[in-house]
Amino acid sequence: MDTYLIPGLDGIAYGLLLAIAAAGLTLAFGAGGVLNLAHGTLIAAGGYVAATTSTGTWPSLAAAVTAATVVGAAGGGVLAAATARLRGRGHLDQALLTFGIALIGADLLTTVFGADIRRPRLPAALDTTLTIAGHPYPADRLAALTAAVIITTIGYAVLHRTRAGRLIRATVDDRHMVAGIGVNPRAVDTTVLVVSGALAGLAGALCTPILGVGPATAPTTLLLSLVIVVCGGLGSVPGAVVAAIGVGLVQTIGVITIPALAPYLLLSAMALLLLTRRRPLPGMPG
C-alpha cells in the first residue's frame, strides 16, 4: 500500500492537470464542433510565458499564471476567428487548418524561446519537498494538485450552476434548440474556444514547474488530451476528468508495476477501454 501512496498521489495530481488541459478540448469539440489540433500549442505557449515570467517571487508567479491564461485565451480567440469561416466544411478542413496553425505556432515558439527545455523559478517555499507519510514529496506538485482541485471544482460549478454553463452544455446537446431560444450558438462557440484556450494556457503554466516546457510539449500534451477526450467521451467534461485521472495513474502506478510494457501501457489501456466499454462513462451522452 505504502508503495503506491506517492505514485497514486502523483498520478492524481498529473491527471487533474491533464483534465484542465483536456476539458477545453472536449468542450470545443462538443459545443463548437471544432477539432482543435492547435490545443497543445496553446498549452506550450502558456508554459513558455509562465516559465519566462516567473522569477522566484510570489508576485511574479501570480503574474506568470495570469499572463499564461491571457495568452491562452488570446490564442483561443485567434482560433475561433480562423475556424469560424470553415463552419459546415467538416472536421477534416478544421483539422488541416488547426494543424497548420499548430506547426507555425510551434516554430514561432522555438524561434522566440529557443530549443531548450525551460522551467520557471519558483518561490523558495514551493521549491522544496514536504514529507507525506514518511516520503518526500515536491511542494510544487502539491501546490499544482491543490490548484487543479480548485479549478476543477470551479469549472464544475460554472458548467452546472450558471446560465453560461448551462448554455454551453445545451449547445453540446442540441445547437438548434439553443438557436431556437434566441441565443446565437456561434457566440457560444467563440466563448468556448476562448475559455478553452485560457484553460490550456493555465494548464501549461501549472505543468511547467514539474515537467518543464520545450519543443516536445505541444505534441505530447495534444496526444494525451486526445486520448483523454476519446476515452472520456467527446464533449463530456466529467468523462474527461475521470479519463484524465486514469491516464495519470497509468503513467505513474502502471509504468512502475509493469516497467517492461511502460512505453505501450497508455495506448494499450486506451484500446482495451474502447474495446470493452459497454456503458458510457459518467456524464457521457449515451
Binding site: 508503495t3 527545455i117 518526500p136 518543464g212 519543443p215 505530447t220 509504468v255
Partner: protein
C-alpha cells in the same frame, strides 16, 4: 507563328537553365582562393540537440578564429550543414556538402544514427569523416564489417564512461548494491552496459530486482518520480545513470525530490554537461560523474582554451562537445600541414593517420591505430560551485581507455 514562339521560348528557357547550372557548378567547383580548402561541418542547428550542435560549432570556430582562419597553413572555407534530429535531415545535408560543395573533410556530427548513415557516403567518396561526438557500434554493411579507413573520432565510444567509473563506484560501495537506470534507446543501452558489465565483472551487485538495468521510455518519460521511489525500495548504496538533454534536467531535479535524495548519484558526465547544468541548478550539486574532460583541468592547453572560450563571449564553461570539436580542428590543422600540393580526400586521410600525439585541453591523446578513436584519460568530476556558476570540478583521474 504561335508554335514558333513557343519553340523559341522553350529553347530560351533551357539555355537559361543550362547557364544557371554552369554558373552554379563553377561557383561550387573551386573556392575563390586557389589555396583554400573547403571543410564541411555537419551539426544539429535545429531540433532536440541544437544546443550540442551550437557548442560543437563554437568549438570548431574558436580554433579556426584563434589560428587566423587557417589550418595547416591553408585558408579554410568552412561550410556548415544542419543535421537536424537525425538521418532524415542529416543525409541530404551531407550529400549537399559532399557533392555540391565538394568538401575535403567532413566533421561535427552530433547523433550516432547520423554517423552510421553518413559514414557510408564519406567512405564511398574517400573523404575523411572526422566525427566529434557520437560514435555508434557500426553495423555491418552488406554482410561485411564496416570499412573504417576513412572514419575517425575525436570523442569516445558510448560504453566508455561506464567502463571508466565502474571500479571507482565499486570501491565506494563495497558490498552494497548499485541501482542502474537509463533511457530506453541505443545510447542508453550502450552507456548502461559499459557500467553494469564492468561493475558486475568486478564483483559488484546490482540492486535492480532482476539484476538488469531499468530502462525508461525515451523520450516520453518526463516524470521520473515513480521510478525513483520504486528504486528506493531496493535500498541501493548508490545509483548509476545516464541521461542527456531535457531528460537529464527532469531526472536530476526529481532525484533530489525523491526517496533517493540522500543516496549518492553517479553518472556518465552528459547528465550534468553544458546548458543542462544551468537548468538543473542546485539540485545537481554533489553529483559525481565521469567524462573525458573537465573545464577545471589544469594543463596549459586547457587554460589557453578556457581563456579563448571566455574571450569569445561565452558565459558558461566549455563542454566536452565544444572541446572535441576544437580538437577536430586541431587534428585537421596538423594533418593539412602534412599534405603536399593539392588536398584530396585520400591524401588528407593518410595525413590524419600520422598526426601522432594531439595536445588537447583534455590532456594529450592519440588515435587508436585500427579503430581511429582517441586513447585518452577519463576523469571523475563533481558538480560544485566554481565562482558564481556550477561546474563539473575535477576530482581525480580514473583510467585510460581503450586499455592498451
Amino acid at each position: 507563328m504561335t508554335r514558333l514562339r513557343s519553340r523559341l521560348r522553350r529553347g530560351l528557357a533551357s539555355a537559361t537553365a543550362a547557364a544557371a547550372l554552369l554558373t552554379a557548378a563553377a561557383c561550387a567547383g573551386a573556392p575563390a582562393d586557389p589555396d583554400a580548402v573547403r571543410i564541411g561541418l555537419l551539426v544539429s542547428l535545429s531540433g532536440t540537440y541544437a544546443t550540442v550542435g551550437q557548442d560543437m560549432q563554437a568549438g570548431f570556430r574558436l580554433y579556426l578564429d584563434s589560428h587566423g582562419g587557417r589550418l595547416g597553413g591553408r585558408k579554410v572555407d568552412l561550410v556548415v550543414g544542419d543535421e537536424g534530429d537525425g538521418p532524415a535531415t542529416a543525409v541530404p545535408a551531407a550529400q549537399k556538402l559532399l557533392e555540391r560543395d565538394r568538401v575535403v573533410a567532413l566533421t561535427g556530427l552530433v547523433g550516432g544514427a547520423t554517423v552510421d548513415k553518413v559514414q557510408v557516403l564519406t567512405t564511398a567518396r574517400k573523404v575523411p569523416l572526422l566525427g566529434a561526438n557520437a560514435r555508434p557500434a557500426f553495423t555491418s554493411e552488406g554482410g561485411k564489417p564496416r570499412d573504417l579507413t576513412y572514419t575517425w573520432h575525436t570523442s569516445y565510444n558510448s560504453d566508455e564512461p561506464g567502463i571508466a567509473i565502474a571500479d571507482h563506484v565499486k570501491s565506494q560501495v563495497g558490498d552494497g548494491a548499485v541501482y542502474a537506470i537509463g533511457p530506453d534507446y541505443q545510447g542508453g543501452w550502450d552507456e548502461l552496459r559499459g557500467f553494469t558489465d564492468t561493475f558486475t565483472r568486478l564483483g559488484g551487485k546490482l540492486a535492480n530486482p532482476d539484476g538488469k538495468a531499468l530502462f525508461t521510455p525515451f523520450p516520453a518519460t518526463e516524470n521520473f518520480l515513480p521510478y525513483l521511489n520504486k528504486a528506493a525500495e531496493t535500498k541501493p548504496e548508490a545509483v548509476y545513470t545516464f541521461y542527456a538533454g531535457a531528460a537529464a534536467v527532469a531526472f536530476v531535479k526529481q532525484y533530489a525530490q525523491s526517496d533517493l535524495k540522500d543516496v549518492p548519484l553517479y553518472a556518465a558526465g552528459f547528465l550534468t554537461e553544458g546548458s543542462v547544468l544551468t537548468a538543473q541548478g542546485p539540485a545537481a550539486t554533489g553529483i559525481r560523474n565521469v567524462l573525458n574532460y573537465s573545464p577545471t583541468l589544469s594543463n596549459a592547453a586547457n587554460q589557453a582554451f578556457i581563456a579563448a572560450w571566455s574571450a569569445a563571449g561565452n558565459s558558461s564553461p566549455p563542454t566536452t562537445f565544444a572541446m572535441a570539436s576544437y580538437d577536430a580542428a586541431a587534428v585537421l590543422d596538423r594533418a593539412l600541414a602534412g599534405v603536399a600540393g593539392d588536398v584530396t580526400g585520400p591524401k588528407l586521410n593518410e595525413a590524419i593517420g600520422k598526426v601522432g600525439r594531439v595536445t588537447s585541453p583534455r590532456g594529450d591523446w592519440q588515435f587508436e591505430p585500427t579503430e581511429h578513436r582517441p586513447v585518452q584519460r577519463w576523469y571523475l568530476r563533481e558538480v560544485r560551485a566554481d565562482g558564481p556558476v556550477l561546474s563539473n570540478v575535477l576530482v581525480q583521474d580514473l583510467t585510460t581507455l581503450p586499455a592498451t
